[in-house]
């Protein structure tokens, strides 16, 4: 099996650089992406997270690669491989930036050594593990061929020989005033040890460290370069062999290995993101993604961005489920403010997008249709000049969403029409929901209007729960039941002594 790509085997990678979907800000997927790619910026991974796949087989392949990487041993091996490849590139960069030949040559050697190590270690570890994915199996076969090749064997032999020789080099420097002398090491004892010994009897406890933090040794100064030049004269044969090696092995990295490295970064980044949340006790699963499926099952899902934020405070979000039978297409979410409605809506959007990327998703069990796109309309924070302007803006944007949507799209709509009268808002809402039902797209619609929760059989009413004994306490649970905003309002009023009887008692008491 030849290795081409972990991500695009069986399909074609987009030829042009894609754009970030407009929904990413609303769904907070932009936050998720920046978390996933953090520390991996050099690989330009974000675009890989923007494009949903349209082929369930490609999705399944990616899921199998990810499943292989769930294995701690494989993940560690791939991660160690990626670290080595990064170091290799850094060393190659040094070889280009430094001016002195003795330095350039050595950086090439150091790059070659770390590359050899990267390939050998990854090969050994992939061969030692059971692999379930075609992608990693193909890579393993490729690496075995590579390591067995005579050119690789020659690289290893030459690199190790010269490295060993350089490790033996030891020289002495005398600095007096502005004069520097370089000569062979004559094997004098370590003076430090002598001093330490002389003062040892006073040492009753650990002491403060007075060592100054010196710049890294690899940052060579002009003086050190001059010294290195003289050292190469002390050991002319060794340095000649180093030069020959560097000339022969200029660019050592195999192109397929480099492709794998970038793609692996995506999986590692997402895996790291997951690990933190799994530690907080949150479930993830491999979703069943079926094109055209009309049934939706999300058990114990959550908003990935919120979960991340809460995890950093040692907390975990409340998980929520959504189950829609075939034919149920519109979920209208009502309930108290700050009760988790928007978070719930985001969760549904995120899960559909991530599932279409072939990644594990938040939730214990997820079985959904394959979304061609997730479209959103959230109320904008910025205030427009007039209310009319704001309503117009709302309508223009929702029109654009409806124009783009197909029956396979997922729509996440949040608090529309807050800028008009209640009766207008109800009328507009009904009209919009009617259009969506006609289209047949899956829709989560968050609203403060209970009236919109009553519709035909396609419409399902979900409500943000409060605690029975304390109506001011949100549970952040979204449950399926008829909208009843009024009952909540009455309870809250009672608690604040604002019922009819209480207000009568208090007034004039």
């Amino acid at each position: 099996m030849t290795f081409r790509s972990l991500l695009w085997e069986g399909t074609t990678a987009p030829s042009a650089r894609p754009a970030e979907p407009a929904s990413f800000g609303d769904l907070h997927l932009d936050q998720v992406v920046s978390e996933v790619v953090r520390g991996r910026e050099e690989y330009d991974l974000a675009p890989l997270l923007w494009v949903p796949l349209d082929d369930p087989e490609v999705i399944a392949r990616r899921q199998r690669v990810f499943a292989d990487l769930e294995d701690e041993g494989i993940a560690e091996a791939v991660s160690a491989f990626c670290d080595r490849m990064r170091r290799m590139r850094r060393y190659q960069g040094m070889a280009q930036r430094r001016h002195q030949a003795e330095e350039q040559h050595r950086w090439r050697l150091d790059a070659a050594l770390v590359y050899v190590e990267a390939v050998q270690e990854l090969r050994a570890s992939l061969s030692a593990h059971e692999l379930g994915s075609e992608g990693l199996a193909a890579l393993r076969d490729h690496l075995e061929g590579l390591v067995a090749s005579s050119s690789f064997a020659a690289l290893v032999r030459d690199a190790e020989a010269i490295a060993e020789e350089l490790a033996q080099v030891r020289y002495a420097i005398t600095i007096k005033g502005r004069r520097v002398r370089v000569h062979h090491d004559v094997g004098q004892p370590d003076y430090r040890a002598e001093i330490e010994e002389a003062f040892a009897k006073f040492r009753e406890r650990d002491a403060r460290d007075y060592r100054a933090p010196l710049p890294p040794e690899s940052q060579m100064t002009w003086v050190e370069e001059r010294i290195l030049g003289l050292v190469s004269q002390l050991f002319p044969d060794t340095f000649a062999r180093l030069a020959a090696f560097a000339e022969e092995h200029r660019d050592v990295a195999d192109p397929a290995v480099v492709t794998f490295e970038r793609e692996a970064q995506l999986f590692l980044g997402y895996r790291k993101h997951l690990a933190a949340l799994r530690n907080a006790g949150l479930p993830f699963c491999y979703p069943t993604v079926t094109p055209g499926a009309r049934e939706t099952i999300i058990d114990d899902g959550f908003d990935l961005a919120l979960a991340r934020k809460l995890a950093s405070q040692g907390k975990a979000p409340v998980t929520n489920s959504l189950r829609l039978d075939p034919g149920e297409r519109v979920a209208v979410v009502t309930g108290p403010n700050q009760g988790g409605k928007t978070t719930f809506a985001r969760m549904v959007g995120q899960i559909h997008h991530l599932a279409a990327l072939g990644l594990p998703v938040p939730g214990r069990k997820v079985s959904i249709g394959l979304a061609d796109q997730v479209l959103t309309h959230f109320e904008r924070e910025e205030s427009l000049d007039t209310l009319r302007g704001k309503l117009e803006d709302d309508l223009v944007r929702i029109r654009e969403v409806l124009d783009q949507a197909t029956p396979d799209s997922v729509l996440v709509l949040n608090e529309l029409f807050t800028s008009t009268t209640l009766s207008d808002a109800v009328a507009l809402g009904h009209d919009l929901l009617e259009r969506i039902r006609d289209l047949g797209a899956l829709c989560v619609y968050v609203t403060f209007l209970d009236e919109l929760a009553e519709g035909g059989p396609e419409t399902v009413s979900l409500v943000g729960e409060v605690r029975a004994d304390d109506p001011t306490a949100r549970t952040f649970e979204i449950v399926r039941r008829p909208a009843d905003g009024l009952a909540y309002a009455a309870a809250l009023a009672q608690r604040h002594g604002l019922t009819y009887d209480r207000v009568r008692e208090r007034v004039g008491a």
Partner: protein, 503 residues
Amino acid sequence: MRVLLLHPDRDVAVGDPLPERLEDLATDLSLDAVLDAMAADDDHVRRVARWVLLAGADDPAVVAHRQAVAADALADPDAFATMYRVATEALEGRRRLFFGRFGSSPETVLMQARRLLDLLVDALRRLRRVAESHRGLLSSAGMVRLCDSLAEELDDAYLDVLEGHLEELKLEEGVLLSAGLGRGNASRDHVLHRPPRRGWLARMLERESGGLSFVIPERDETAARSLAQLRERGLNDVANILAQSSDHILDFFEVLRDELAFYVGAQRLHRALAQREVAQCWPELTEDPDALAADDLVDAALALRVPEAVGNDVDARGRRLLMVTGANQGGKSTFLRSVGLAQVMAQAGLPVAATRLRASFAPRVLTHHTREEDAEMESGKLDEELRRLSALVDAAEPGDLVLCNESLSSTNEREGSEIARQVTTALLDAGVRVVYVTHLYELARGFVDEPERALLLRAQRGEGGQRPYRLVEGEPLPTSFGADTYRAVFGAELEAEADAGRR
């Protein structure tokens, strides 16, 4: 190098934070008067003495160790004073040389540490000479060991070696290092060697290296800095060791100064009490439980302030509770303080103000005194008082000595007595010794029937209301002579003396 004057096995970290409750102990025992006498304006002595007195000792063996050293201090004050001065001057050195802080570059650290060590090695030499000359006058295990170990560890040969290194590290002939090749062929694993000397080695190196040398151009400051950096790679570790060594020697002098300070203070206190003709003795601390016997026990704090403080004789005869009642201003609080202070001073290793004292060793001395703010009857006050009492109970362990002065007077007598009775009985049953001064008649009366574990003492009312400040054994009386005090203050009779037992 250890000092071991305050404890036979370890250096005592004078200044380590002490439990909060010991602040109360210091206040309740009027420790300041004792500390003033010990310090004689030396704040350091005061700080150390305060710490040692409050921290106490682990067991009677430690006390015996200190008593012996303190006896040496009384016999040869000059040895202690001189060594204390040498230590103090050595510690001044660091601040005098460079404001007490090391610089940040290895070259600076090396230079500073070298100069400081010059001074410290000299101080060590002086210290050893004092130890040698006074050795014959000293007999305590602590001082004998210290003097012997100074003589043995810091002989001239050794100190000369140290001075030799300090001389070499002036690096007058330059720096010699060796190195290997690291990543990018940068130098690594720098090792400093003994600096080259004028002589065969230097000549050999010069010959061997032939033309392999270069000179930094005169005005090239960048290159000069790079060269300095290379030197520092070689010197960093050695500078660190030197700076650490100077810290270690300063640590030694610090412990020495701290421990000597206590005995310097002990000698001053002894002299101050002797000048006031207060009898002093070496107390006997025993592991026997419930021992407290003293003759002519004086409150040392009071004796240092007023002339002719009256002493008390007391013999608990194996009883765990001393309950003291009686006349106001009848010397109850003074007695309580004399017991507490004697216990604390004894356990620090000091002589005590009595002609004889034999007492059980108490791991902790705990006090619970009424506070100004407790005096009024308010629920908040009782709450505060109970909170402190609860903290005391948290701290108490079997064998401890608890001193209560008018505890639980912030509520009415019945409630106060009942709470106090329950707390006191529980403490006694747990093996805690209690000395309780109280107006609470109900409380005191409750122990009349328990002569096997309670000794009842009463402040005496002398003729015509004059008080001799002496306690006698006796059952509590239902009133506390408030009328006397009232009369003394107001010059008039208190109307209703029938307000028995209440404040």
